[in-house]
């Protein structure tokens, strides 16, 4: 038996029946491209997601937030200050959980508005101000480029200092470094009713702004950080005690986030919120996000998997059918080969090789098509979901493993569905085959 010879013969046969061969491969092509699409999209989304979480370094992030009680007896669901989570509660929580919590991250929105610098009297830029603590900023997402973060002292003294993103610094002052020490004027016109609408801040720090792929499409609101105590004063709150609808915390290394968040929910709801008639605390973790994404993915995967399975089955049967036709068409050739001394095994091998080649070509086309589809789907998802993704790039990397397995699997289909026709050819009686008209 000669593999190369048989492969050449198989290619010959496929070439002389191009259209028929292509139609036969179609099922395999669709099936394999579906498989590649599933695996590539699946790993793409998973990689992107876990990659993002890793980037943020906040795999252990837990969001603690208020939620209305399902059997609330309160008639109007207005939230009172007594419903909110207070700094005192958070302190008590920290005492209770100690080492299990690495850091807590509270913020207070100081509203949205515009920002400009008097020096150049440029256009106003859209801005949103967030009150931050040093602990929160240190735990957070931003990389400081120049200057310093909002400090505890800034908070204690309720200073009018501000951290601005690098792109704003460059637009307004030419460079991040040049922005340090500059005074900017902020005009708050949306959000909490501010006691003073227009105020000046001194830039003390510039953090790195990471542009997403699609950010150019949307008008940018610059996110700037100010001391949380200052924000509270601006919004008319108690400067010494913060109240929050939600806050974030980061579990210590090695702590189970799901157990920690369950304990925290219990701590709040059996304590501070036990007698609250309308609100309780709930948590949201990255793990929840992962679970949601995973279940959505597995549903899509299941559907595509069904399509792939059915088209591979149908494709395999198509291959078998065309191989049977081919055996019949070439009955005389089989007879001649047998007369020339081909053993049954050689005939069987020849037709299995032909079937495998047919399926492998189908598989390879399927892989190429699948990769193209996966990349295209990734691009489309990025366009459609640009808002939700917030500038995260979807990286579609077709895995070499999936490609190898797909091609291997199409070969296996070729062997499986080619065996019966090949065996039929091998078992032909030489004389009957030679006499075949």
């Amino acid at each position: 038996m000669n593999l190369i010879e048989n492969i050449a013969v198989a290619f010959n046969g496929i070439k002389s029946n191009k259209m028929r061969s292509f139609l036969t491969m179609l099922g395999i092509i669709i099936g394999i491209s579906a498989v590649i699409l599933i695996t590539t999209l699946g790993t793409m989304i998973q990689n992107t997601f876990t990659g993002t979480i890793d980037d943020l370094g906040v795999t252990n992030l837990v969001q603690v937030m208020l939620q209305s009680k399902p059997n609330s007896t309160r008639e109007q669901m207005w939230m009172n200050q007594s419903d909110l989570i207070s700094d005192t509660m958070i302190e008590r929580m920290k005492e209770r959980f100690g080492d299990e919590i690495e850091s807590v991250w509270v913020t207070t929105s100081a509203g949205r508005g515009t920002i400009n610098n008097d020096v150049n009297n440029d256009d106003d830029f859209a801005v949103s101000l967030t009150g931050q603590t040093t602990e929160g900023l240190e735990a957070g997402l931003t990389d400081l480029l120049e200057g310093r973060l909002i400090s505890d002292e800034d908070n204690a003294k309720m200073r009018y200092v501000i951290n601005i993103p690098s792109d704003l610094a460059e637009t307004m002052f030419g460079s991040s470094r040049a922005a340090l020490g500059q005074v900017v004027t902020v005009n708050i016109n949306q959000g909490w009713q501010a006691s003073t609408n227009i105020m000046d801040f001194t830039v003390v720090g510039v953090y790195e702004y990471e542009a997403g792929m699609m950010s150019g499409l949307f008008s940018r609101t610059y996110e700037c950080d100010i001391p949380i105590a200052t924000a509270r004063r601006l919004t008319g709150g108690d400067p010494n005690e913060g109240y929050y609808q939600y806050f974030n915390l980061i579990g210590a290394q090695g702590v189970s986030v799901s157990e920690l968040s369950a304990d925290i929910v219990e701590f709040f709801n059996n304590g501070f919120y036990k007698n609250n008639d309308a609100y309780q605390v709930t948590t949201y973790t990255m793990e929840d996000d992962l679970a949601t994404i995973n279940s959505a993915l597995s549903l899509v995967g299941f559907i595509l998997g069904m399509i792939a399975g059915v088209s591979l089955l149908v494709g395999g049967i198509g291959v078998m059918n065309i191989m049977l036709v081919s055996v019949t068409e070439r009955t005389r050739e089989i007879g001649v080969r047998k007369a020339l001394g081909a053993p049954n095994t050689a005939i069987r091998f020849q037709f299995i090789v032909e079937s495998v080649i047919l399926c492998t070509i189908g598989g390879i086309i399927g892989v190429i098509l699948g990769v193209i589809l996966a990349i295209a789907t990734g691009e489309i998802m990025m366009l459609v979901l640009a808002d939700q993704l917030g500038g995260i790039t979807l990286r579609s990397n077709p895995s070499a493993g999936a490609i190898a397995i797909s091609v291997g699997f199409s070969m296996a289909i070729g062997v499986f569905f080619g065996y019966y026709p090949a065996n039929k050819a091998a078992k032909l009686d030489p004389i009957d085959a030679l006499r075949y008209e």
Partner: protein, 233 residues
């Protein structure tokens, strides 16, 4: 005494057409063929010549009797051995050439060597030499549909010869050719017979061609009715 390359004794062949209907085609044939003989088999259409040739060529087994080919008892061997016999000891030449389509002359001639497990390099060399012998070296890459009938038959003869078989079996090899090309094919057989001492069994309807051989066996309705040496004038 010459070595007998074919020994047939009381050979029967029946076909089963429909369930109970046994159709006996050959009714106990016996003959021997010495090595190097050029022999022809003649007889009316349907007399069983091709059936006999299939038995000699180990494409089929007799239903009764004993057939020893070059020392091998064919009646009792399994399929795998039969294909080996066909590969190594028999060279078939058919009336309709039976070249493998979409396969070059060279590749067609290489085919029996492929089944014999000869290396690709040696295959090509030997096939070229053999095609040269049948005067076809200028048509190596031609596909069967690019060859004339006579050319096809010469390629087929080269293919039959390539594994240096003990016997060449030719079933009406000139039947599809005009007289002139038929003549060329016959000359080739004579050359193989005279120069290489091949045993050749030629089935033909043409008494003139039969007369060129050394011995004529006449079949009628599955019996040998005459078996005579040709007297050369």
């Amino acid at each position: 005494m010459d070595k007998m390359i074919i020994h047939m004794e009381n050979i029967y062949k029946s076909f089963y057409v429909g369930t109970p209907n046994e159709l006996e085609i050959l009714h106990g044939l016996s003959f021997d063929v010495p090595e190097g003989q050029f022999l022809s088999v003649v007889g009316q259409s349907g007399s069983g010549k091709s059936t006999l040739m299939n038995l000699i060529g180990a494409l089929d087994r007799p239903t009764g009797g004993s057939y020893v080919l070059d020392g091998l008892d064919v009646a009792k061997t399994e399929d795998k051995t039969l294909s080996e016999i066909r590969n190594k000891k028999i060279g078939f030449v058919f009336q309709t050439f039976n070249l493998i389509s979409r396969t070059s002359a060279l590749k067609n001639v290489e085919l029996p060597m492929m089944y014999a497990g000869v290396s690709q390099k040696e295959r090509t060399e030997r096939a070229k030499a053999m095609l040269d012998m049948v005067d076809m070296s200028d048509r190596l890459k031609h596909m069967p549909n690019e060859l004339s009938g006579g050319q096809k038959q010469r390629v087929a003869i080269a293919r039959a010869m390539i594994n240096n078989p003990a016997i060449i079996l030719a079933d009406e090899p000139t039947g599809a050719l005009d007289t002139k090309t038929g003549r060329m094919v016959m000359d080739l057989f004579h050359k193989l017979h005279n120069e290489q001492g091949k045993t050749i069994i030629l089935i033909t309807h043409n008494p003139e061609l039969a007369a060129e051989t050394e011995r004529i066996i006449t079949l009628a309705d599955g019996y040998i009715t005459s078996d005579e040496a040709v007297v050369k004038s």
